[in-house]
C-alpha cells in the first residue's frame, strides 16, 4: 500500500522570462511505514516538493495521492480539511504559535478539526517526545530542540498518513538534532508512520530507510540509496554536485 504517490508533478514560480521551474515532472511512490530522506543542492526544489506533496501548495500539473486519495481541488478550505487529517508537517523554524502552551500547540490540529482532544493521549504523546515536564510552557520558554519536539508531537497528533519534515534539524545543535531524528525514526518503527524528510546532513539522512536525490527539480535518474551510510550519502552528494557543474547548470 502506498502512503504517498506523486505522478508527474510540476511547479513553476513567476512567469515569462523570470519563470523558474522548481519541480520538473517528479514521480514517486512511497510505501506506508517507510522513512525517506530527500537531498539535493540548495534551490533544487526540495521544499517545493514537500509543499506540493503536503497540500501546502498546489502543483501546476500532476497528481498527488495520499493513501490512494487524490489531493482535492477547489477551495483552499477543502484542501486544508484534507490536509489536517492526513498530513503532519515539521518546519525548520518550528512555526509554533507563541500564545499557546506546548500542550495546546501539540493538540491544535485536533482543536481546529473540531475533534475532542483526548488530554491523556496528548500528554502521553508529549511525554514520548520527552516534554512531560514542559506541558504548560510556551514556545518562548523552550529551547530550540524542545520547540522542535513539540512540533513533532503536533505533526503526529492526528495519526496522519504521512509526516513531512523540511530540514527539521537545520536550526538545532547536534544533540537536539539526534533527539528529533530518533523521534521521527520511532514514529516509523513503533507507530508505522510514513516519514519524508528533507535534509542537507548526510548523518541525518542516514536515519532514513532510503534517500532520494533531487537536482534542478528532477529526481536523480541514478535512483535511491537504500539503507545508506552517511559516507555513501556524502559520496553520492559530491557526485551529484559534479554532475550539476558538469552540465553547466
Amino acid at each position: 500500500m502506498s502512503a504517498l504517490r506523486l505522478t508527474g508533478v510540476r511547479r513553476a514560480y513567476g512567469s515569462g522570462e523570470a519563470a523558474v521551474t522548481a519541480l520538473d515532472g517528479v514521480s514517486l511512490d512511497l510505501a506506508t511505514g517507510s522513512f525517506t530522506a530527500v537531498m539535493g543542492p540548495s534551490g533544487s526544489g526540495k521544499t517545493t516538493l514537500l509543499h506540493c506533496a503536503a497540500g501546502l501548495e498546489r502543483p501546476d500539473s500532476g497528481l498527488v495521492e495520499v493513501n490512494g486519495e487524490p489531493m482535492p481541488g477547489g477551495s483552499e478550505t477543502r484542501l486544508t480539511r484534507f490536509r489536517r487529517e492526513r498530513i503532519g508537517f515539521v518546519f525548520q523554524q518550528y512555526n509554533l504559535l507563541p500564545t499557546l502552551t506546548a500542550l495546546q500547540n501539540a493538540t491544535l490540529p485536533l482543536t481546529l478539526a473540531g475533534k475532542r482532544v483526548d488530554r491523556a493521549r496528548a500528554i502521553a504523546l508529549l511525554e514520548e517526545v520527552g516534554l512531560g515536564d514542559r506541558l504548560h510552557h510556551r514556545p518562548d520558554q523552550l529551547s530550540g530542540g524542545q520547540r522542535q519536539r513539540v512540533a513533532v508531537a503536533r505533526a503526529l497528533v492526528t495519526a496522519p498518513s504521512v509526516v513531512f519534515a523540511d530540514e527539521p534539524t537545520g536550526a538545532l545543535d547536534t544533540r537536539s538534532a539526534r533527539d528529533v531524528l530518533a523521534l521521527l525514526r520511532s514514529a516509523v518503527d513503533r507507530h508505522g508512520r510514513t516519514v519524508v524528510m528533507v535534509t542537507h546532513d548526510p548523518v541525518a539522512a542516514s536515519y532514513a530507510d532510503s534517500v532520494i536525490f533531487l537536482a534542478d527539480g528532477r529526481l536523480d535518474p541514478a535512483g535511491e540509496l537504500r539503507r545508506p551510510s552517511a559516507d555513501a550519502i556524502a559520496a553520492r552528494l559530491a557526485h551529484l554536485g559534479d554532475q550539476a557543474v558538469g552540465t553547466g547548470v
Binding site: 501546502l56 486544508t80 490540529p109 481546529l112 503536533r154
Partner: protein, 439 residues
C-alpha cells in the same frame, strides 16, 4: 543615527503608514482648531467675532488637542512595539540601546513631520469651511477671513511631534530594556489621569450654569477618565475572559477558542488598540450627549429658538463631529495596523490546519471582546461627564437622548472595529500561508 532613521523610513514605508496617518489626522485637527486663534488675532477684527472664534477654539481645541496627543501616542506605542524583533536584531549586531532609541525617535519625528506637513492643506480648507459656517450663524462678521498663523502651525506641529517623540521614547525604552517591566508607570499614569478627570468633572459643579465654556470641563474630564481607564483595560479583558470563553467557543468554534487563548496571553499588549476604542466611546458619548443637553436647555429656557440658535446647534455638531470622526479613524487605523502585523501568526495557524474562515472567525471574536471592553470602560467615563453637566445645566439628572446616542456610538464602534479587523485580515490571509511565515 539620523541617517539610519532616514534610510529605515525609506525602506519600509508601508510599516510606517499607521504612524503617518495618525500624525496626519491629529495634526489636521489641532491646526484646524488652533488656526481659529490666529483668525481671532488678526488686526482690526471686531471683539464679538474674536470672542466667538476664541471660544470655539478654546472649548474644542482644548480637549481636541488632548485627544490628538493620546491618539498619536497610542499609535506610536503600537508601531514601535511591532518592531521589537528588528530592534533585537540591531542590538545583537552591535547597536547600543542609545543608538536604537535615537533611531526610533528620529524616525518617529520624521514621519510625524511628514504627517503634519501633509495636514496643513486639509486643515486650511477645513478652517475656511468652519469660518464660513461661523459667518452663517452670525457669530463672526462676514468680513473676517480665516487665517493660518503661528498659533495653528505651532500647536499642530508641537503637539504631533512631541506626542510622537515622547511615545516613541517610552515605547522603545520598554523594548530595549528586554523584559517589559511591571507596567507600574502605566498604572500610575492611569490612576493620575482618572483622578485628574474626576477633578475636571467635579469642576463642572463649581461653574456658572450659563457659562458658555461650561461644556469644556466635563468633556475634558471624561476624556481624561477614558484615557486613564485604558491603562487598566488589559485587566478588564482578563476579567472578562472566563465569562466569555464559553459563549465565544460556541459562537465562533475553534476560532473563538484561539481568540480566548490570544486575548488571555496578549491582554497587556492590547492596551494600544483599546486606548482609541475607549477614547472613541467615551469622547463621542460625552460630547454628543452634552451637545444634546445644551440644545434642550436652550429650547427649554422659554426663549423661542431662532434660526441662529439652530445654526449654532449645527455648527457645534460639526465641530464635535470632526473630533468624533478623528477618534473613529484613529480606532480603524490602529486596529488595521495591529491586524496586518499578525500576518506571520495567521500563516502559522493556517499551516497547523486552520482554514481561512477559522482565522477570520478568530479575528471577529477578538474584535467583539475588544469592543465590549471599550464600551465597558468608555461608558462610565462618559457618564461621569454627562451626568454632572446635565445636573448643573438643567434641573434633571438623566439626559433624554442619552440612550439612543450611546447605542448609536456603540454600533459605530462595533462596526468600525469589526470591519477594520476583518477587512485587514481578509487581505492578510490572501497571501499563501507558506509565504506569510517566511517573510
Amino acid at each position: 543615527m539620523f541617517a539610519l532613521a532616514v534610510r529605515s523610513v525609506r525602506q519600509r514605508p508601508g510599516r510606517l503608514a499607521a504612524t503617518l496617518l495618525a500624525a496626519f489626522f491629529g495634526a489636521a485637527v489641532v491646526i484646524l482648531f488652533n488656526s481659529l486663534h490666529d483668525t481671532a488675532q488678526q488686526p482690526g477684527i471686531d471683539p464679538g467675532s474674536a470672542e466667538s472664534l476664541t471660544l470655539t477654539a478654546g472649548v474644542v481645541g482644548g480637549y481636541g488637542t488632548l485627544l490628538v496627543l493620546l491618539g498619536v501616542a497610542s499609535t506610536l506605542t503600537l508601531t514601535v512595539r511591532q518592531r521589537s524583533e528588528e530592534m533585537d536584531l540591531l542590538r545583537r549586531t552591535g547597536a547600543t540601546p542609545g543608538q536604537i532609541i535615537r533611531m526610533v525617535i528620529g524616525e518617529a519625528l520624521l514621519v510625524a513631520t511628514a504627517g503634519a506637513l501633509l495636514a496643513v492643506g486639509p486643515a486650511v480648507l477645513g478652517g475656511r469651511a468652519l469660518v464660513a459656517r461661523l459667518h452663517e450663524t452670525g457669530q463672526v462678521a462676514a468680513g473676517v477671513d480665516h487665517v493660518l498663523g503661528p498659533i495653528g502651525l505651532g500647536a499642530g506641529f508641537g503637539v504631533t511631534l512631541s506626542a510622537a517623540a515622547g511615545a516613541a521614547w517610552l515605547a522603545v525604552r520598554r523594548v530595549t530594556r528586554g523584559r517589559p517591566g511591571r507596567h507600574r508607570l502605566r498604572t500610575v499614569a492611569g490612576a493620575l489621569a482618572v483622578t485628574a478627570g474626576a477633578g475636571g468633572v467635579g469642576a463642572t459643579f463649581a461653574m456658572d450654569p450659563t457659562e458658555p465654556a461650561l461644556m469644556a470641563a466635563p468633556a475634558f474630564g471624561s476624556i481624561l477618565i477614558s484615557a486613564g481607564l485604558a491603562a487598566f483595560s488589559p485587566a478588564l479583558v482578563r476579567a472578562l475572559i472566563p465569562a466569555l470563553g464559553g459563549p465565544l467557543r460556541l459562537l465562533f468554534g475553534a476560532g473563538g477558542h484561539l481568540a480566548v487563548l490570544n486575548l488571555r496571553r496578549r491582554a497587556t499588549e492590547l492596551a494600544g488598540v483599546l486606548m482609541p476604542l475607549i477614547l472613541f466611546v467615551g469622547m463621542a458619548t460625552v460630547t454628543l450627549c452634552l451637545q444634546a443637553v445644551e440644545s434642550d436647555a436652550i429650547a427649554g429656557s422659554g426663549l423661542t429658538r431662532s434660526v441662529e440658535d439652530r445654526n449654532l446647534e449645527t455648527l457645534n455638531l460639526v465641530v464635535v463631529g470632526i473630533v468624533t470622526v478623528f477618534c473613529c479613524l484613529l480606532l480603524i487605523n490602529s486596529l488595521a495596523s495591529a491586524t496586518a502585523f499578525r500576518r506571520r501568526e495567521f500563516g502559522q495557524q493556517r499551516l497547523a490546519g486552520a482554514t481561512r474562515s477559522q482565522v477570520l472567525r478568530m479575528v471577529g471574536a477578538e474584535a467583539l471582546v475588544l469592543v465590549l471592553t471599550g464600551v465597558l470602560a468608555g461608558t462610565p467615563a462618559a457618564l461621569a461627564g454627562v451626568l454632572s453637566f446635565t445636573a448643573v445645566r438643567t434641573d434633571r439628572i438623566w439626559p433624554g437622548q442619552a440612550l439612543p446616542t450611546w447605542l448609536g456610538i456603540v454600533a459605530v464602534a462595533a462596526l468600525a472595529a469589526g470591519l477594520a479587523g476583518l477587512v485587514t485580515a481578509v487581505r492578510t490571509v490572501r497571501v499563501p500561508a507558506t509565504v506569510a511565515v517566511s517573510a
